[in-house]
Symmetry: C2
Subunit: 387 residues, 2 copies
């Protein structure tokens, strides 16, 4: 898979066996294959065309095929690096490159429609690798009334469920999201949502303070020396997103540059450190508030499994621990799947489930009306190749 920042293609080699709750998945190896710089530029231009539309349909169509070639090449390169013969690969799961995602309906030609678009033509991947490909995971959940995201919580459930401990999987990406797995929960009891900003506002402020010299506050050391500007924080916490009931997802539209500018202006007399501290506290308190409002009234939680880039911001983690003293924090790494490999690993597992005809969206997480089998299957070449 490739994330929204379009840095490159993550390839995970995963051994999977068993079905249902006896499914066992083991990460064997992982690597990232970078995109050529020119192509990354094209991807980001397509993905941002919503703000300045100037695309031709040819560009989308060609980019889809070109990304298919690059995904296939990434698989082949990764297999060489893993010393794994492609012939031994049973199935490829390809998330593709998201260039558009709108889980809640927008308008087209007077009609309301939600949609998502991942590029990376699976026919090209299947043809170049000779393996079957499961791709386009998100559309089916949207077709069933869901937001098409997040899809990783099912894999969280498989990795992290515990018979007697309620667990919270907290992923501190640009946006912070959480998955709640009650003690001894069945799949249907798992729920989750985006709490609001994770690193997004902190990074935006740090970039502005660093004036290009550094892109983020290394392990939160600047914020640590600042003071919270309480009136500004209180105002930011009144953002309606925080009170909206889950399932809910958010993104750059709500907590991107525009939101960071608001913090900057409202705290204009405060120092840079104070601004960073306030942004950090916004992440911490919005997570705590989400727990109080939407999680703890429904179920007990004892442990937090922490992941995402924000887990490397030591001050942010310290403040989370201080604010949620009743919870025991565990790093995601100790469960066998490192942070970087997590999503690619997850889509390998999701591909396996689709291949076996098992539903893999969680309606209480995505908002879908019912479970669905995700994705499309592109077959491998026939056994007797008629070349």
């Amino acid at each position: 898979m490739s994330g929204t920042s379009a840095d490159g293609i993550d390839v995970a080699w995963v051994d999977i066996r068993g079905r249902g709750l006896r499914l066992r998945a083991k990460l064997r190896d992982f690597c990232t294959v970078a995109y050529p710089a020119a192509l990354r530029h094209t991807i980001l231009r397509v993905a941002n065309s919503n703000r300045t539309p100037g695309l031709s349909v040819a560009e989308i169509s060609q980019l889809n095929f070109l990304l298919g070639e690059l995904f296939a090449r990434a698989v082949r390169r990764a297999c060489r690096r893993f010393r794994l013969s492609l012939k031994k690969v049973d199935l490829i799961g390809s998330h593709g490159q998201t260039v558009y995602h709108q889980g809640r309906p927008g308008r087209l030609a007077g009609l309301r429609v939600a949609s998502t678009l991942q590029l990376g033509e699976p026919a090209v991947i299947a043809e170049r690798t000779g393996r079957p490909v499961v791709a386009n995971f998100r559309p089916r959940d949207i077709a069933a009334g869901g937001q098409g995201a997040p899809l990783v919580p099912l894999v969280d459930y498989l990795l992290y469920r515990h018979p007697s401990r309620g667990r919270l999987i907290l992923n501190l990406g640009g946006i912070a999201n959480l998955t709640v797995i009650p003690a001894g929960a069945s799949l249907i009891e798992v729920f989750g949502f985006d709490t609001g900003p994770g690193n997004m506002v902190i990074d935006a402020l740090a970039a502005r303070l660093g004036r290009g010299r550094f892109r983020f506050d290394p392990d939160g050391s600047l914020a640590r020396r600042g003071q919270v500007v309480e009136p500004v924080l209180a105002e930011l916490l009144r953002h309606p997103y925080f009170r909206r009931r889950p399932p809910k997802t958010t993104g750059r539209e709500e907590f991107g540059e525009h939101f960071a500018n608001q913090l900057w202006q409202r705290a204009s007399r405060a120092s840079g450190r104070d601004k960073l501290r306030t942004a950090t506290e916004l992440t911490v308190r919005s997570i705590a508030a989400a727990l109080d409002r939407f999680v703890l009234p429904r179920t007990k939680v004892q442990e937090v499994i922490l992941g995402g880039g924000g887990a490397r911001n030591r001050f942010l983690v310290t403040r989370l621990r201080e604010t949620l003293p009743q919870l025991h924090f565990l790093p995601a790494e100790q469960f066998g799947v490192g942070e970087k490999a997590k999503e690619a690993f997850a889509f390998a597992v999701l591909a396996y489930l689709s291949w076996h005809g098992e539903p893999a969206n969680l309606p209480r997480v995505t908002g879908a009306t019912h479970p669905v089998i995700l994705g499309t299957i592109t077959p491998a070449p026939p056994r007797k190749e008629r070349k």
Copy 2:
């Protein structure tokens, strides 16, 4: 399926059984469900965005989902009209709406890439109908080095092959294309290509002559009373496309408005009838030349099965018969599948083949390096719906 003119969605109900050469397909019923006018406008704008790029990726993504909804609705409406329970439908084949097709490589970000893009999200169709869907037929052939078209010749083979007669399937659409099935041929011996203009130039001239009063020359009666402007015809027949070796495909890029204008200007002193006659003769002679150059040196042909809108242009058909007196002409209708239903019927058969893991492109027709299984499979809901 829906054709490039985006008038509406063709739905064919087809009974299919057997495998390989014993496959039997019978058209049970057929109807067309019109697109809403506003949506047709949007589709044509997207499809034409290559000339005036001004799209956002949101439009493509939303149009894909919206078309999925409309294709699903068309299936449901057609089933009601056919008095066929959806539950009795084993499989849906959805060609989708082509918004881009470039079988020969173009450039993107400095790289060469051929591509094709059909919209009409299969996840939406599967979700709304509860049936499995085979879709996206063309990409795999392009991935295998083909032009992704034409795909109908395999179905021509199944319908029209004959143990002792060589047959030519001549389809007079906007572009004229032919499929050659030698007597007693195996699949691999079938070949075909676009010969050049079918009705495209005739229609463009007739529209200009009619000034909006009529869109084409009814059964060729105007052209019949005209004279061929021989020097102009000779010049037009020097177009390099006619000499290019098959497999080859062409379209509006080569024989559209621009080409019709050339005829108009070069024959500027001739009457409208003479221009129409010249355009008609261009179609006839380019087909005859294609036979002489690329078909008859390779195989014997006794019969022509004539289809496409041009088969209703009586003068065009008369001239074809006169020019090819050694061939016996048969109307496509007598083989059980009417002209209008032909393509929808064909994609039902192609879906069946993909579902059973059988390759369905013809390398000597599309130019692919080998046969491939076409399309992607989007599964039906699981049997035990966990609602």
